[in-house]
């Protein structure tokens, strides 16, 4: 594309004197101001949630969270202290982690196997099958709730972490296969060819070549799956009863929003700290996965 590039256009630029630099900065000041304001606007809700979570109920009954600016001394960790002594919440956190990690592993393993098959194995109907998988990408999970409710009831998977994990895995798989197949298909062909000529089995190629080379895509996928299951509400709400991840646990407190704000706010903040940490640690992979999933 755009290979018609003519000789690069040289824009005459003022010499980078201090005056010129100041001038340029002033010319762009409105952009800076707008972006700073927008950035603050985007931060306020999360910041407000955090501050709310460290204020005692007595303050929150009559003041908004910004009371912290006039009375910083009212801040307290006691809400969090209470949270970590609340067995309901700690159990919910464990359940959430179990579901999120379990689902992530399952989707990575099954998705990578299928992605490799679609990218590098030759068998009849391969492309049609792949198109079918892409078709499943948009099936709303509401289409499966009622039948699986029945099936889980029959097979004893209702109200188990495994049932919730497998449901997530199924609806995560189409995207996983799509993402990994595209990435694997882009790996250098000659490496695989020579491995095959050397007589390496497909399993060996998959384990020794595809998985290590595909790590960036697997990382993106893993983060997506982790965040997706960690943040889920509807699946766990439908298939769990005593098995409650943190979103469902908080949902149970929502009815008394005003009076249990000192529980809801810290619990909500705890629920979003881990996704945020994951996001900050692996931001690059997250964005890559996002782009692979949408732009292609």
């Amino acid at each position: 594309m755009a290979a018609t590039a003519t000789a690069p256009v040289v824009i005459p630029r003022p010499h980078d004197g201090t005056a010129a630099r100041v001038l340029r900065f002033v010319a762009r000041a409105p952009v800076h101001v707008v972006l700073v304001v927008l950035g603050l606007l985007w931060l306020v809700p999360t910041f407000g949630l955090f501050i709310t979570s460290i204020l005692p109920q007595s303050e929150l009954a009559s003041h908004g969270w910004w009371v912290i600016f006039s009375k910083p001394s009212v801040a307290t960790w006691s809400n969090y202290n209470a949270m970590f002594h609340n067995s309901g919440l700690t159990t919910a956190l464990k359940t959430t982690a179990e579901i999120a990690v379990g689902n992530t592993l399952i989707v990575i393993v099954i998705g990578a196997l299928a992605g490799y098959a679609f990218a590098w194995l030759d068998f009849p109907g391969r492309d049609w099958l792949f198109i079918g998988v892409i078709g499943l990408l948009v099936v709303p999970l509401q289409m499966a709730l009622i039948p699986m409710f029945k099936l889980y009831d029959t097979f004893g998977l209702f109200d188990t972490a495994l049932g919730i994990i497998l449901f997530h895995a199924a609806f995560g798989l189409p995207f996983a296969i799509f993402l990994l197949r595209n990435f694997f298909a882009g790996l250098p062909k000659d490496i695989l060819e020579s491995a095959r000529i050397d007589g390496a089995s497909e399993v060996r190629i998959f384990l020794r070549l595809i998985l290590p080379l595909g790590l960036p895509a697997i990382a993106s996928l893993g983060i997506f799956q982790f965040l997706w299951t960690w943040n889920d509400l509807i699946v766990a709400l439908t298939f769990g009863q005593t098995v409650q991840p943190i979103t469902v646990w908080i949902f149970g407190q929502l009815r008394e929003f005003g009076t249990s704000i000192d529980v809801i706010a810290p619990a909500s903040f705890i629920s979003l700290v881990i996704p945020l940490a994951v996001f900050f640690a692996f931001q690059r992979y997250f964005v890559q996965g996002l782009l692979a999933g949408s732009v292609k």
Partner: protein
């Protein structure tokens, strides 16, 4: 720009070929099993189920009754209408925000910081976002940040009265057009005493001093507005020791129903109308003194819940649109932009005529993705809308869940709603497949 789909090279020997097919099947088996059991089978079941009775796992054949119910039940129609609003508003706004942010951040050095901040809500669950915004939206302006901001703006234009809860202390002071008026006619040289009660001590403006009955002044009408109450009671209508004047009250002097003069009381609650012509006057307290403080908008009430939800949702997804569009922007040929600029195009023209058309494929992907997301919206409504307005905030995905899983397990109608939702996203599915085929060829 991925390499075209490449089949493995022609196999050399027959056993190898068989082995490859077998391993293809083995590699695919787990995925196909999970997809078949958890998506394909239930999807078919749901479609079939939607033509059967409401209760139980299968019930009796009812034809299209469930679909009829979907389009005739008031609560379900509201859900469909709401989803229509979502689709009409959110994808366009999210894409617009994303485009604006992406173009603006191109011009600053600290774009990474900005992008991180705007993108951050993407990592948070829609549910936690609902809780977060519910705190922002609280109606009482001293609790909800948005109404607190609204109040400071509101107060700048029409400040609340000094006394919003006061009532007259004697029958001699009567309500009048939202304010109070002293019934006794006054003449220049007279004294007007306007006693008020029902004022909590904390409501008294700070700096209030002991009230005094001002001495009469020739040609003037003087008087006092004071808190006619002291611990133990006191005598109504009489200024006594321990009773404070009320500063800052707007006092009006009327003649024949027309306001001729207006003044404010001092720290002791005293006022003085001077330079009066002989005649009969009436003194009173203006309505603005009693103006109620602004109560805030009911963001979580039935009439504003939809916009509130949309704002919170756009807050989540603007970062997604920004990141995707920014990636498209950075892949754009720079020389085209520079050429347009050297040809004398203004920044706006470059944006309209070059940037946007070149970015169109990316923009349309964001737009389409957002349509699907918005059709499936669920958690945020459950978290943000209080119980009492859930019916007004209902959306299709939530209606499906409520119908099937809360209270009566109406699986028939629930299946019909799910199928309806599926039908809405099918055009997008067709689009996806078309895109993949175009890529593969």
């Amino acid at each position: 720009m991925e390499p075209p789909v490449q089949a493995a090279p022609p196999p050399s020997a027959q056993p190898r070929r068989f082995g490859r097919y077998a391993s293809g099947a083995l590699f695919l088996a787990p995925a196909l099993f999970v997809l078949a059991v958890w998506i394909v089978y239930p999807a078919i079941y749901t479609i079939v189920r939607s033509f059967f009775g409401q209760q139980g796992y299968i019930g009796t054949w009812v034809g299209i009754d469930n679909y009829k119910r979907l389009f005739t039940t008031h609560t379900l129609l509201i859900a469909i209408r709401n989803n229509a609003i979502w689709v009409a508003v959110v994808p366009a706004l999210v894409t617009a925000f994303g485009l604006i942010f992406a173009v603006l951040t191109e011009r600053v050095r600290w774009s990474v910081a900005f992008k991180t901040v705007v993108f951050l809500p993407m990592a948070i669950s829609a549910f936690a976002t609902g809780v977060t915004w519910r705190i922002m939206y609280q109606q009482d302006p001293s609790l909800g940040a948005i109404n607190a901001l609204g109040r400071s703006i509101h107060d700048a234009f029409s400040p609340p009265g000094v006394l919003s809860s006061a009532t007259p202390s004697t029958a001699n002071v009567a309500p009048d057009h939202g304010g109070l008026v002293l019934k006794t006619p006054l003449h220049p040289g007279g004294v007007a005493l306007i006693g008020l009660t029902g004022i909590p001590p904390t409501d008294l403006p700070s700096g209030a001093k002991q009230a005094v009955t001002p001495p009469p002044k020739g040609g003037d009408i003087v008087g006092t507005v004071w808190r006619d109450f002291k611990p133990g009671g006191g005598v109504p209508g009489k200024v006594e020791q321990g009773e404070l004047g009320i500063p800052g009250v707007t006092v009006q002097l009327q003649q024949n129903g027309r306001t001729v003069q207006s003044t404010k009381t001092n720290a002791a609650g005293a006022f003085d109308f001077s330079g009066l012509k002989p005649g009969t006057y009436q003194a009173g307290v203006g309505a603005s003194t009693f103006a109620q403080a602004w109560g805030g908008y009911a963001w979580l009430g039935p009439s504003l819940i939809i916009p509130s939800l949309l704002i919170a949702y756009i807050w989540i997804w603007a970062g997604f649109a920004m990141v995707v569009i920014a990636a498209g922007l950075s892949a754009m040929p720079r020389d085209v932009l520079e050429a347009a600029r050297t040809d004398g195009a203004s920044e706006w023209q470059v944006f309209r005529r070059v940037t946007v058309p070149l970015l169109w494929p990316v923009i349309s992907v964001v737009f389409v993705t957002m349509i699907i997301n918005v059709l499936k919206v669920f958690d945020i409504v459950l978290a943000l809308a209080p119980e009492s307005v859930q019916a007004d905030a209902n959306v299709i995905a939530l209606a499906m869940w409520r119908t099937a899983f809360s209270g009566v397990n109406d699986f028939g109608t629930g299946s019909a709603i799910a199928v309806f939702l599926f039908l809405l996203v099918i055009p997008v599915l067709a689009l996806n497949i078309k895109r993949f085929k175009a890529e593969a060829s």
